[in-house]
């Protein structure tokens, strides 16, 4: 009689090998990402740090299925993103990825609730828009239009929109880039808490080294290369961070 022993090995959600991105411009080729190898584990939070043009956002875009790599491989649970068709990438984004952008990107003609509903309507097993907004502390702002919300509140609606579908991956590109520190902390707190609750693998791209403390791992970029991957023994909560 054998007993099934649950594997203790962490599940890999992403395997990235030799991933490169070259932009052809009139002034010559620009190597935005050079030969990146990275394994990403389910449920972990990665913080991607580096100066402008270092390649962190490019990696996020490639792993989010927004852009096509020039070479290499990026495999998400058996799905090879490099060379995948536009419709396969759309399906990947629709089913597996939640995005939070620097400029919130809410639809101005829809209320907070409706902005979230926009995503829950096309998802398989979403939470209700009300639940998602409640999780980011906006239960009392559900019927407000974006123009009636502060920047921080708008970004929290964006977080609610991103996690409402219970995504496997949550990608945040400079989520606090347009916010003051107080609002920024509230947003990071929301990202931290809800990503834990839904078990999403989270990647946060930022200029702000202060954010590094909230990641399980911190990946540093320079000139399109990964120059350092540091492990945080304990993840700091957003509230504790030195902004």
């Amino acid at each position: 009689m054998s007993v099934a022993i649950p594997s203790l090995a962490p599940e890999l959600v992403f395997t990235v090998r030799g991933l490169s991105k070259v932009y052809q411009t009139g002034a010559g080729d620009v190597h935005a990402l050079r030969d990146v190898d990275l394994d990403i584990v389910a449920g972990e939070m990665l913080v991607l740090l580096g100066p402008s043009g270092s390649g962190k956002s490019t990696l996020l875009n490639l792993l989010g299925g927004l852009d096509a790599a020039s070479s290499g491989s990026a495999c998400f649970r058996g799905l090879e993103l490099v060379g995948a068709s536009a419709s396969a990438l759309t399906r990947f984004r629709r089913e597996s990825v939640g995005f939070v952008f620097q400029f919130y990107n809410l639809v101005p003609s829809l209320t907070a609730r409706e902005n979230v509903a926009l995503i829950t309507e096309i998802s398989r097993n979403p939470m209700t828009p009300e639940e998602a907004l409640d999780r980011v502390g906006l239960a009392d702002r559900m019927d407000h239009f974006p123009s009636q919300l502060s920047g921080g509140q708008q970004q929290r609606v964006a977080v609610a929109r991103a996690i409402a579908k219970r995504p496997t991956l949550l990608f945040c590109d400079e989520p606090t880039g347009s916010l003051d520190s107080e609002s920024g902390i509230l947003v990071l707190q929301a990202i931290d808490e809800v990503s834990r609750e839904v078990g999403a693998t989270t990647m946060i791209v930022s200029h702000n080294v202060g954010i590094a403390a909230m990641g399980d791992r911190v990946v540093r970029f320079r000139d399109g290369r990964v120059v350092d991957i540091a492990l945080n023994p304990t993840r700091a909560s957003a509230r504790e961070m030195d902004w």
Partner: protein
């Protein structure tokens, strides 16, 4: 006023917006070109007409009598107001031409003698003038010999005034009296059956069998003379010679038709261009408003660097002006080309010695001015915004566009709407002015698409009602003089004639409230089957009730109703004058008509049981033999065939109307295209970021296309019922504007025309929407996400 860099910016903005600019410019071009085309063609016709009339000394007044001694002509010249009188002899009859089933009408008119330039001269375009002599030389109307396939030197046999005479064509000429030669049964040109000849007086006298008499008069009137009393004075002089009422140039068949055509051109030039310019103005407004929104930061920056408010506004004003200018240039070129094409078409109908293509600079300059003003006016609100924008505000991060839950949110249950549809509805609610402008433009396009097609359906109805329901005869014959009823009986006996019914036609003048109308009263048998006036509902109106039946148009003109009396002066015979009871109205589309029982009319005329013609039903295969036999009956002056007339209608519709309706359909489609394309691009510019975000969040391009095009689809579909109603309204207006004495056009639009209009409309919308939607497949998701709205 402005820097070179801003000049360059303007040029680049224009280039960047080239398709939108072109779509709007196209509408302006349509407006300008319709005006230029119509006015250029108008000018070409007027110039050709004036030159021809002057060269040939076209008369002011006309009269015809039966037999007037030449000695009486000088008396006519002495009537006060008459500057000059010209008298000629005309003999009429039939002409049998090989290759034609139906005989042609022959009119042989004497040429003036002596060196003096008489009135209604002819312009010899081929051969030589006819000389006196036993060979009976004639100059033929050029239109006739071309249509009938005749050549100089050809010998023809005509039956004129009861005598058969042989004529030799020695020349071809054009005449101001026959620029357009309508057939007597319809107002359509039937050139091959309208033989007009001029010959030396002695030749015509030989044909008519009389000398020393004249029967055709033309008058030149002294400037400032009142025409009505003069016409009455002429009638008074000629009455005893069996004259028909004298008439003014405006009632001369060829001139009247030309005048109606010129009026139609003016109508097109006035009605259509404003529609295009108003839609273009609305689109300029939408485009420049959006541009000012997009370039808010740039405007702020320019002002922060020290450029004046005026410069900021001037930049957009010039952009609007440039759009207008592109439209004006395109419109000028298109209008010039179309004007030439229309003149080419007119050359087939109107025979002038010279009909040169013209370019009407006045209308071009005028419409160019209006177009530029429309474009600039369209931009004023946006330009005002650019001028007033404070640099500090302009460079701040803008708040998200303000939306509110609107009426639709309250009315429609939440469960019924997905978020994409909600976005569409909210945008329409958020920009009601824009939605209204776009909707109006789309409605105008569809209304034009429907309205311009009315001409086809209307004429189909006229043909059907006139030639198959009211007049049910296949052929008709008219006699030189009223003849005994037995003449009809003899026609009935001709092989192939199934039925023959008598007709007595008499010219009469009706008066009501001082307003006169000269009309032919048609006397029919009360139980006639081949000719039945019909009422509005298509039921036969009985003509046997000792009174008169008037066509609706005539009753309207005279302002009389059934049950009333109409003062009638019979213009033939003993000239009875009496008040006739109006017993009914006929819903005729063609001509001004009056009907009576034939016997009643005979009694009024103080004549026996006589007829002036017969309406016949003839078997199709017996027609050649029938016409062969009547060509030898000297008492028959004219014959017409329904099939020929209907074929003429169809030919005209095919050749002339199809071309112009084609132009108008294309122009109307251009409105739908221009509105859709611009609205689509403006929507994309506003929503590009939202749509890119949605694509990143997992929406497919098709789902995004639904959101982008939903507003357009909603407006286009909403426009359909309104456009169709508007089209019917336009058809009513056009029907009234295009109706003439000869034909009353009913505002009829058939289901297929509605279908064609909707199809063209939707195709134009789709063709315009396609390139906009295609841009969704090219959205740069990454750039959009990295930029602030």
């Amino acid at each position: 006023m402005t820097s070179k860099v801003l000049e360059r910016k303007l040029a680049r903005d224009l280039w960047h917006l080239k398709w939108q600019v072109l779509a709007i410019a196209l509408l302006i071009a349509c407006g300008v070109s319709v005006a230029v085309m119509a006015n250029s063609a108008h000018k070409a016709l007027i110039d050709a007409q004036m030159r021809f009339y002057t060269d040939t000394r076209f008369a002011d007044l006309f009269a015809e009598a039966k037999r007037v001694p030449r000695s009486r002509v000088s008396v006519l010249g002495q009537i006060e107001g008459v500057a000059e009188v010209d008298a000629r002899l005309k003999a009429t009859g039939l002409l049998h031409l090989s290759g034609q089933t139906r005989p042609a009408t022959a009119r042989l008119i004497s040429l003036s003698e002596g060196p003096a330039r008489t009135l209604n001269g002819i312009d010899l375009v081929q051969g030589r003038m006819a000389q006196a002599g036993p060979t009976n030389e004639v100059v033929a109307l050029k239109t006739f010999i071309d249509a009938a396939g005749l050549r100089l030197g050809d010998r023809l046999s005509a039956t004129l005034g009861g005598r058969t005479i042989s004529l030799v064509i020695v020349g071809a000429a054009l005449s101001p009296e026959f620029v357009y030669v309508p057939s007597p049964d319809s107002f359509l040109p039937d050139d091959a059956h309208q033989g007009v000849f001029w010959a030396h007086r002695s030749t015509v006298e030989r044909a008519a069998g009389s000398s020393g008499i004249v029967n055709l008069f033309a008058f030149r009137v002294l400037p400032g003379t009142r025409v009505e009393p003069l016409l009455r004075a002429i009638d008074a002089q000629l009455e005893v010679y069996g004259a028909q009422p004298a008439y003014d140039r405006k009632d001369q068949a060829s001139h009247a038709f030309l005048r109606a055509e010129l009026k139609e051109l003016s109508t097109s030039a006035v009605i259509l261009p404003p529609i295009f310019l108003i839609v273009a103005m609305a689109l300029v407004h939408l485009l420049i408003t959006r541009l000012v929104e997009v370039e808010r930061e740039q405007i702020g920056l320019l002002k922060a660097f020290g450029y004046s408010d005026r410069v900021a506004g001037w930049n957009y004003l010039r952009l609007a002006g440039a759009i207008g200018l592109v439209g004006v240039i395109l419109g000028g070129l298109l209008g010039g080309w179309l004007g030439g094409a229309i003149v080419g078409l007119y050359r087939e109908y109107f025979r002038f010695p010279q009909l040169a293509v013209q370019f009407d600079w006045t209308s071009f300059v005028l419409t160019a001015g209006f177009s530029l003003a429309a474009a600039v006016t369209g931009s004023l609100v946006a330009v005002g915004k650019a001028v007033r924008l404070s640099p500090a505000v302009a460079m701040q991060v803008p708040r998200p566009a303000t939306f509110r839950a609107g009426l639709l949110d309250r009315v429609l249950p939440k469960a019924y709407l997905d978020q994409a549809t909600r976005m569409i509805l909210r945008t329409v609610q958020r920009f009601p002015g824009r939605a209204a402008m776009a909707l109006s433009g789309l409605c105008a396009s569809l209304a034009l698409l429907v309205g311009v097609q009315f001409l086809f359906d209307s004429l189909e109805r006229v043909v059907d009602a006139t030639f198959y329901h009211t007049q049910r005869w296949s052929d008709s014959a008219s006699f030189t003089e009223p003849r005994a009823f037995a003449a009809v009986a003899s026609l009935r006996r001709v092989h192939g004639v199934v039925s023959a019914e008598p007709v007595r036609a008499v010219l009469a003048r009706f008066r009501s409230a001082g307003h006169p109308e000269t009309v032919r009263i048609i006397g029919l048998e009360p139980d006639a089957h081949l000719h039945r006036p019909l009422d509005e509902e298509g039921r036969p109106v009985r003509v046997g009730a000792s009174g008169i039946v008037l066509s609706q148009t005539l009753a309207q003109r005279l302002d009389v109703r059934p049950g009333g009396l109409i003062w009638t002066e019979i213009m033939e015979g003993r000239g009875a004058k009496l008040a006739l009871p109006i017993v009914g109205l006929a819903s005729d589309y063609s001509g001004l008509n009056a009907y009576m029982a034939r016997r009643d009319l005979n009694r009024l005329m103080g004549e026996g049981d006589v007829v002036s013609g017969a309406e016949l039903l003839i078997l199709a295969d017996a027609k050649p033999a029938f016409y062969q036999s009547i060509a030898n009956i000297p008492q028959i002056i004219g014959a017409s065939s329904r099939d020929d007339t209907v074929m003429l209608w169809r030919n005209i519709m095919e050749r002339s109307f199809k071309t112009s309706i084609g132009f108008y359909l294309a122009f109307a489609g251009a409105i739908a295209f221009g509105v859709t394309y611009n609205l689509g691009r403006i929507s994309l510019s506003e929503r590009g970021r939202d749509l890119a975000t949605l694509q990143v969040l997992g929406f497919s391009q098709f789902e995004c296309a639904y959101i982008l095009m939903g507003e357009l689809a909603l407006l286009s579909l909403t426009a359909v019922p309104f456009g169709l109603i508007g089209g019917y309204g336009l058809a009513q207006g056009l029907a009234a504007a295009y109706s003439r004495d000869e034909v009353r056009l009913p505002p009829v639009i058939g289901p297929s025309s509605y279908g064609v209009a909707i199809l063209v409309f939707l195709v134009a919308v789709l063709v315009a929407a396609f390139p906009v939607a295609r841009r969704l497949w090219k959205l740069d998701l990454i750039t959009v996400l990295k930029t602030r709205d």
